[in-house]
Amino acid sequence: MGSMSEIPDRDRREADRERIRVLLRAVEAPAPAALHERIARLATPRGERARARRIPGFALAGACAAALAVVLVLTLSGSSAPTALGASKLALSHAQGPAPATLTAAGTTIVFPNWSSLGWPSSGVRRDRLDGRAVTTEFYGNYPGMIGYSIVSGSALSWGTIESRISRSSTSFVVLRGGHAQVVAWVEDGHTCVLASRTASVATLVRLAVAQDATATAAPSRPWSGGVASPV
């Protein structure tokens, strides 16, 4: 008889189905506008990339143009005042080489965190100069889910266009309007830190930034900070 109770009649099944549908309709909400914007941005350049693949010469020219654009933007911004938003372009670019086990940002004593245990293993590093300042960038994760973390030496930069502010663990984070990406920035030890990603959400970036902070708090002596500062 027990098995009979496992097989509901059609009316009961219909009632269950209708009930779930009513419940789901009652809470039906659109996705956040920010997510819509991010997906739209992901979808838009897709066609451009496809066209570029069909004409390899154009692809090469496009890559060169993109690289030149980064250089120009950084140079131009360097001629006035560099911003954290400008530095985010480096965090959104690509690695130049593998990341060492521990990496200290050039010109600072800040050591990049190890987020492997949080699902974001280190995947590479690059070193640049922005208006004479050393910028060290470590990349986490792999395409398409990648995050870039740039630390700019020298005094704190101005932010750029601020979208919102978030305070967590006594640190004030700013969310910057990054065009095709999410950009979160803050100041640590007087230096500008920038986390940027085309796929990870602002919430994820803030969680990681706070996780780094929590690690630093848990180990105030920073035993890993004895690493050699990376030359630029």
């Binding site: 099944r13 809470v27 659109p30 996705a31 949080l118 699902g119 978030i166 990870a200 959400s201 996780a211």
Partner: protein, 182 residues
């Protein structure tokens, strides 16, 4: 119908996919990441649709992305749970607090289902796939989907009833502990 996935049509599915991701993960924040990762995968290269529509295809990629995220999460230490507890400002809850609460309850109840049941309910009741489409997307027989779906609906209904009974009991007696939203 074009055999290729049209990138321009994908944004129209964001809302539905977001709700599906929320129900799968149980968290609106993880849902955002899940949806974005799903679209990033889909858009990474041209896709050819073989006899299925876009929604069924997106459901399949969402499922794979979700299962990958579970595998990644299983390698994370317990500290991750503490990260998830961080309170990030959620504009949705300030707009319609009652609906946000009910959504958390309902999607949370779905997220508590066993994985197979959860995927069946999400595919059919949230994504709107037919039983056959859901079976293809989830690589299961249609009869299996039917069975899982029924059990999933019953469990979710019972879970919501249980929550509401606890709430009303707590209100009457005034002794129930405050209920956590997460």
């Amino acid at each position: 119908m074009s055999p290729h996935l049209d990138p321009d049509s994908l944004p129209a599915h964001v809302d539905r996919l977001y709700r599906a991701a929320w129900a799968l993960s149980g968290s609106p924040y993880d849902a955002e990441d899940l949806v974005q990762e799903t679209f990033a995968r889909v858009l990474a290269r041209p896709r050819l649709l073989r006899g299925g529509d876009e929604l069924a295809y997106l459901m399949r990629v969402l499922r794979n992305t979700f299962l990958d995220s579970l595998r990644t999460a299983s390698r994370r230490p317990q500290a991750t749970a503490q990260l998830d507890d961080l309170e990030i400002a959620d504009p949705r809850s300030s707009e319609r607090p009652e609906q946000a609460l009910e959504a958390r309850e309902l999607y949370g109840a779905i997220a508590d289902l066993p994985e197979d049941f959860r995927l069946a309910l999400v595919a059919v009741d949230i994504m709107g796939l037919s039983y056959g489409e859901a079976g293809r997307a989830l690589r299961a027989r249609e009869a299996t989907i039917t069975s899982r779906l029924h059990r999933a609906r019953r469990r979710v209904g019972a879970a919501v009833d249980g929550e509401r009974a606890k709430e009303s009991g707590g209100e009457r007696e005034g002794s129930a502990p405050p209920r956590s939203l997460d």
